[in-house]
Symmetry: C2
Subunit: 558 residues, 2 copies
């Protein structure tokens, strides 16, 4: 007998009406804006009314350096949320929404896996409540208004060579990465070279996820720098009067979405910025709302802890005034073997030695996380192929490193497989031992912030940045952007900028190829290597196998 | 005291919960998929269960040759629906969804006007229930799969010069009309020239609006011709295995949306294809569902009767097996004056002579509509500036032409202003006098179908089509497409192809510049003049004035 697939498990779920899920958090039915019977947004007035309530405990789930398939951060977030509910705690989870692009490419769904999933899985992997479509529209309205402004006389004197605002589409479409627009003559405008990114890479997405409320959202949208004049002075979305209409387009998208886990526990799923050129966390509005409604909120951030946790701490928590109470570091035997040098094709074979070799990666992440002043435990997301020998050495060495480790079986057993971790995490979060510390203060110079992350998190000897980049950072400081945090765009497959340097590399330097100013989101992006902001489809896209079955259910999502 | 604006009236509406609106048509609450508290989609199983019920009466609202601002077809459709309910009939309306693009450009909202509106007006003019976003995604997934197929070896041998499937965006963005994609080197594919249309121009939109159900939808999507080989044989969406994923993306979009009028009567708002290169009617699924649930269904079709009514009859009714029971021809004093030769700037001045001169236009539309074998009445959509002298001559001449004419005041008074029309239309629809006749049978040659519309509807002396076009039509007949109806893409401002030839021009010929095969939608498009499928924004786009007010309501929509 083979185990059922994620979609089979999801379809068999005993979903409850969303008003019952809301009731778990004492949300009155009138405060839920339903989208079908199993999804809802929370009403704005209800959210505003929560402000004076105390916050619950905030728990971050992050991971060691991942394999391409990921280590199950979302699965563990869902499992831990269910586990906390199982032991009688009022807990909610906060995760990101899925992008349509990868869904038709080859990545699995973004709703967890096995018996630790969020449902309705099909909706979450397709249009959900339309948030990403709203972001696409807002982004592209701004783009259209730029070219339209130039077309009608260019009163703002936009330098057409210096338009930095591209367009977006929620699709993996390599043909759109680099395009020339406005061909075809006078009535179509002035030809120029530009391109499309995938919607999750839009600064509008990052803004939506960092905004405190609609007023803050509009202010940030207005700050977006879309182009420069010949004298290099910036032109903002506000100068084009685009910020109001963009905010109108995002009015509902800014409300957090409530769904449920397979075990009928509340799950907030809202926002989904890229984890390289943006900060990779679900929305501040959702996290803060969840903290007002639940005693424990479990959330996650993109990629391994060097990227996800670092940005969660230094960007999201810093900006939103959040302070995590505990951290769970997820590892898998597979990813440890990969960190220990095993090729992807051989990950299925037992190899305790490779696990041991790979532990250097885990231990470095552990040390980094401790540097944030928050208690950390290790959770092993068990796969059916893991052997006793592999799990033994893992447990032994992590324990020797002074950390607690929990073997978790939530993928196969749901909350019953993760009770011990849940109990310990609740204790840690309640212990008050967290003494949250950022990697750098606001007033460090921008270059110093980049160096701080490179040295303390990536353990690099230093950074390589040419004069042009250094001058640019100084210029931004002079222009009043010196207080911003930095958002590092680096490969997720290594602590270094070289994706093949596994484990815990030393002696490396981080090349800063480019820096970008996201003035609306409120960070400086430092690009360390090749960062792809518009993926392509594989030779055989998953889309080829997606379709309706005889029962008109959607097959081929996974 | 000035009259309140459409948005002010809409906001002051006493909206009822959508389940109460559904109850008006005996739709059980469980059969409604809510989108917020004031919008819902109808459940698929509920719709399937209606099949054996008898149909209500179908009433088409169409118009004389319009001014650029339109003649109030939607306003009159809403008003007539409310009027029928007012006189105790169980009536519903079926209208099209609005496109985002024009909403940010300069066109007014698409939800009626004054006291004859559909609400929630803001939602209807922005994302509504996400149908258009789903169409955009399905369309662009197919586009990405074409370029991806070529990228990975082009096993189907697509001739890159003959890719006919463009991309779409729901935005007025002239810069995207004509673009070169896949620049930037090997990893981005093979550069080629292509472009974007606005979403309402997508064949996917036309397909969604003509499909009978999901099975038919997928079959039609599979038939879409996306490209040709060097030997000119066609490549279809099905050859790329895109039809299943496209159907999955459209699964919910294919369900009709239920909202309400200001008077709390049921309104189905679903689909919105272009009225030039497509057929300009709301979805067949919505119309058929409404006919099962209501005794009277009032619907409309894009532009004047030469385009909208012609396509409603010859494409939608033909394909869906529908048969209209009565037609309302909407006229305004303003449009008659324009038809009578008055310049747009002078329409505000009294000019009974121009009204009289313009009546030739109305009378020709009237004759054309009688040719469909359906009883027709004339409704005058009154404007506050209309004078007694103008209305008198209008009434007198139309009566002399043997038609009934009703002066309607629904814009200012809601259903109370349109009772007489409603009473008469109900009688006519019940009279059984309709003897529906199409303009041409299925088995007429394609060129003959184009000639039939040109001569009998446009009153042209003939058509001009060069050998290339004639050969193309014969080729399509040989390939099995000879049974398809024709979809004429002609200016809406004249019976002729010359937008400046007002009134009832004679002696003109219709130039056929290009023909296109919409194999999925199931029609041949005949392009008679310049047809814009991607609008641009005006010098001062409406978007500049759209934004949230202090109460976080959306201002600037109109």
């Amino acid at each position: 007998m083979t185990s059922p697939s994620d979609i089979e498990i999801a379809r068999a779920a005993g979903k409850k009406p969303i008003r019952e899920i809301g009731a778990r958090l004492a949300i009155p039915e009138a405060a839920l804006l339903p989208y079908g019977h199993d999804k809802a947004k929370l009403d704005r007035d209800f959210i505003s009314g929560l402000e004076t309530r105390p916050d619950g405990k905030l728990i971050l789930v992050t991971a060691i350096t991942p394999t391409p398939a990921g280590e199950g951060k979302t699965t563990t977030t869902v499992g831990l949320g269910d586990g906390l509910n199982r032991i009688g705690k009022r807990a909610a989870i906060c995760i990101r929404e899925a992008s349509l692009g990868p869904c038709f490419g080859m990545k699995g769904g973004a709703a967890g896996g096995g018996y630790a999933q969020v449902v309705p899985m099909e909706d979450m992997n397709l249009h959900f409540t339309g948030d990403f479509h709203a972001i696409t529209s807002a982004h592209n309205l701004l783009a259209a208004m730029i070219d339209n402004h130039i077309y009608w006389g260019n009163a703002l004197e936009i330098d057409q060579r210096r338009v930095v605002w591209r367009r977006v589409m929620d699709m993996n479409d390599r043909a759109l990465r680099d395009v020339v627009t406005s061909l075809g003559g006078v009535t179509n405008g002035f030809p120029r070279q530009t391109g499309f990114d995938i919607t999750v890479a839009s600064e509008v997405m990052a803004i939506l996820c960092l905004a405190q409320d609609l007023t803050d959202l509009q202010a940030r949208l207005g700050e977006i720098i879309v182009a420069y004049r010949r004298d290099k002075t910036p032109i903002r979305a506000r100068d084009l009067k685009a910020d109001g209409a963009m905010t109108a387009l995002l009015r509902d998208a800014a409300l957090p979405n409530l769904v449920q886990t397979l075990e009928n526990n509340p799950a907030f799923v809202h926002g989904g910025p890229f984890a390289n050129i943006a900060h990779g966390c679900n929305s501040v509005i959702a996290t803060r709302t969840a903290l007002k409604l639940a005693d424990y909120v479990v959330t996650e951030a993109g990629f391994g802890a060097d990227l996800g946790a670092e940005k969660f701490m230094n960007i999201k928590c810093r900006k939103a005034g959040l302070s995590p109470d505990a951290v769970v570091l997820v590892a898998t035997v597979r990813s440890l073997k990969m960190s220990g040098g095993v090729a992807k094709a051989d990950l299925g074979e037992e190899n305790a030695q490779a696990v041991e070799a790979g532990l250097a990666n885990l231990i470095r992440h552990l040390e980094n996380l401790r540097g944030f002043g928050v208690p950390v435990v290790v959770a092993v997301n068990r796969f059916t192929g893991d052997t006793e020998a592999e799990l033994d050495i893992l447990t032994r060495r992590v324990t020797e490193a002074g950390a607690e480790v929990f073997l978790c079986n939530h993928w196969a057993k749901g909350s019953a497989g993760i009770e011990a971790l849940a109990t310990r995490v609740a204790d840690l979060a309640d212990s008050g031992t967290a003494d949250f510390a950022l990697t750098y203060p606001d007033d460090t110079a921008l270059l110093g912030k980049i160096e701080a992350v490179a040295q303390r998190i990536y353990r690099a000897e230093g950074i390589d940045a040419d004069d042009r980049i250094r001058a640019q950072l100084v210029e931004w400081e002079a222009a009043g952007f010196g207080h911003l945090p930095v958002c590092m765009a680096k490969t997720q497959y290594s602590f270094s900028a070289d994706p093949t340097a596994r484990g815990a590399p030393t002696g490396h330097r981080i090349p800063i190829r480019e820096v970008r100013l996201s003035a609306g989101a409120g960070f400086i992006v430092a690009i360390c290597g090749d960062i792809m902001t518009m993926p392509g489809l594989p030779r055989h896209p998953a889309a080829e196998n997606i379709g309706l079955n005889a029962a008109l259910e959607i097959d081929g999502l996974f």
